[in-house]
């Protein structure tokens, strides 16, 4: 089983998998290839589910260590994390995610906390708009001008005050920012293709044991 310890085995496996998925995505190939590609994708869903278990295990190990050592002031939070995780997992297994108890936990704990985290950002945005968007140079001035019009465009009250806010804001969004946005998307696409070629040809091994 020494080949399992070598990097070439997993690299070859990755290359073959990628080639099958790519070929079945981009070309009209025999059904058997498409079916293999489809099955491989379904395996990913199962592997991702196992990865969730790994995440839970990793989180539990880290926080249990902290609680046992009690050497930092944050251990009570670790205890809270482990307890909450255990409660949610147990309730989820016993009651299932469609059950009333799980829904209660979700509605009264998880969701309000999530919404709260987003709501707090409103204060940050307001502070940022005051401190960051300053016309210190010509470029910064253009940026600030864009922010003012696009933000006003998204507030219906501004269109009420002056229709120009709507028109100029829409023009900035639909015309001025569209070119750079498309450019960025294209560059990302080209970058992904290059990364794919490097991975397929084993030049890039970053996805295996930190670069192989």
């Amino acid at each position: 089983m020494s080949f399992l310890k070598k990097i070439e085995g997993p690299l070859a496996f990755c290359s073959i998998t990628m080639t099958i998925i790519l070929v079945s995505y981009f070309f009209n190939v025999p059904t058997i290839i498409t079916e293999i590609g489809s099955t491989l994708q379904q395996w990913t869903v199962v592997i991702a589910a196992f990865a969730t278990f790994l995440g839970v295990a990793g989180l539990a190990i880290t926080h249990i260590k902290r609680v046992r050592r009690k050497h930092t002031s944050v251990w009570p939070f670790s205890l809270l994390t482990i307890t909450t995780m255990a409660v949610v997992i147990i309730v989820g297994i016993i009651d299932k995610s469609s059950g009333q108890n799980y829904q209660w936990l979700f509605t009264n704990l998880y969701q309000p906390l999530g919404t709260c985290a987003i709501a707090i950002m409103a204060f940050y945005y307001l502070e940022i708009s005051y401190r960051a968007f300053r016309a210190r140079s010509f470029e910064a001035g253009c940026f600030t001008f864009g922010v003012i019009f696009v933000a006003f465009r998204n507030a219906p009250i501004a269109g009420y005050l002056w229709k120009g806010f709507d028109d100029i804001g829409t023009w900035i969004q639909m015309v001025l920012s569209m070119g750079p946005s498309r450019g960025i998307h294209l560059v990302i696409g080209v970058g992904m293709v290059l990364l794919l070629i490097r991975t397929l040809t084993w030049i890039d091994r970053g996805h295996l044991r930190g670069g192989g």
Binding site: Q42, A48, R136
Partner: protein, 267 residues
């Protein structure tokens, strides 16, 4: 000159509170991409199958996605379309079951005959890819742990060609790759306000047929449907809070230039 942050926070609280006490009831025109979304649903033949790729998380649900989902599902119900919900997010099926299922049941939609909900499929975009390649092979049971092999609605779907419309949520790119590029589906986008710019890139390229984005999108859609609801109500608060951003930007610049004129250094 110095501006105390407390005043900004007070302004924000006032901007959210005032419309609750004194509703502004502003009227506004719908944007072209919201109208396109509406028209696509309106023109779908009765009984058409609609796929909703529900990738929504809990944090943006109450603020952006719930009003969006409610008004769009309301329209789907009005047009008697069949709804299939695929969930590559762990929270999406829970939210749907809690907030949208009652709506469907009130409208007389029968589970398994008129609508269908999958459980959580991990893997993000790959899960969506696996679903679009072979839905029957991937989904063997639904969110409620029922065996789907005998479910009449599920039997109707073999490939993506069996869906007339696809409503994609959250990140446009994933939907473009897996729904549009791979299967040439007619894709509509439901997103939060922050995703509008990205979505517009695909909309102007003709890859997305329509977009409903954030609370404003819901409000516009509600007006198009002539059923003002959560979106229209929340738009008043949104209007004032968003208006604060350019106001604070202008204020920050005025203070900056006044200080500069006076020769002071701003910290």
């Amino acid at each position: 000159m110095k501006w105390n942050s407390k005043y900004s926070y007070l302004l924000l609280v006032a901007a959210v509170s005032i419309p609750i006490i004194f509703p502004l009831k502003l009227k506004f025109a719908s944007t072209v991409y919201v109208r396109e979304f509406y028209n696509e649903v309106e023109s779908a033949p009765e009984g058409s199958r609609v796929l909703i790729n529900n990738h929504i998380g809990a944090s943006g649900w109450e603020t952006d996605f719930k009003p969006n989902m409610k008004v769009i599902v309301g329209h789907l119900i009005q047009r008697h379309l069949k709804i299939y919900v695929f969930c590559p997010s762990s929270t999406a099926p829970v939210l749907w079951d809690r907030d949208i299922r009652p709506m469907l049941e009130d409208a007389g939609y029968v589970y398994g005959t008129d609508w269908f909900l999958t459980g959580f499929y991990p893997g993000g975009e790959t899960a969506l890819g696996a679903f679009t390649d072979d839905p029957q092979g991937l989904v063997l049971s639904d969110y409620y742990q029922n065996d789907v092999s005998e479910m009449p609605l599920w039997k109707e779907v073999v490939t993506m060609d069996d869906f007339e419309l696809a409503i994609h949520t959250v990140v446009a790119e994933r939907g473009m790759r897996q729904l549009y590029s791979a299967h040439r589906m007619n894709v509509l986008m439901m997103a939060d306000s922050g995703e509008l710019s990205d979505s517009l890139t695909y909309y102007t390229a003709g890859m997305l047929t329509g977009i409903v984005c954030g609370i404003r999108g819901s409000a516009e859609y509600e007006i198009l449907l002539n059923k003002p609801g959560e979106g229209v109500r929340n738009t008043d608060a949104l209007s004032l809070t968003i208006a604060l951003i350019p106001i604070m930007t202008i204020l920050g610049n005025i203070i900056h230039f006044v200080d500069k004129f006076r020769g002071k250094q701003i910290k």
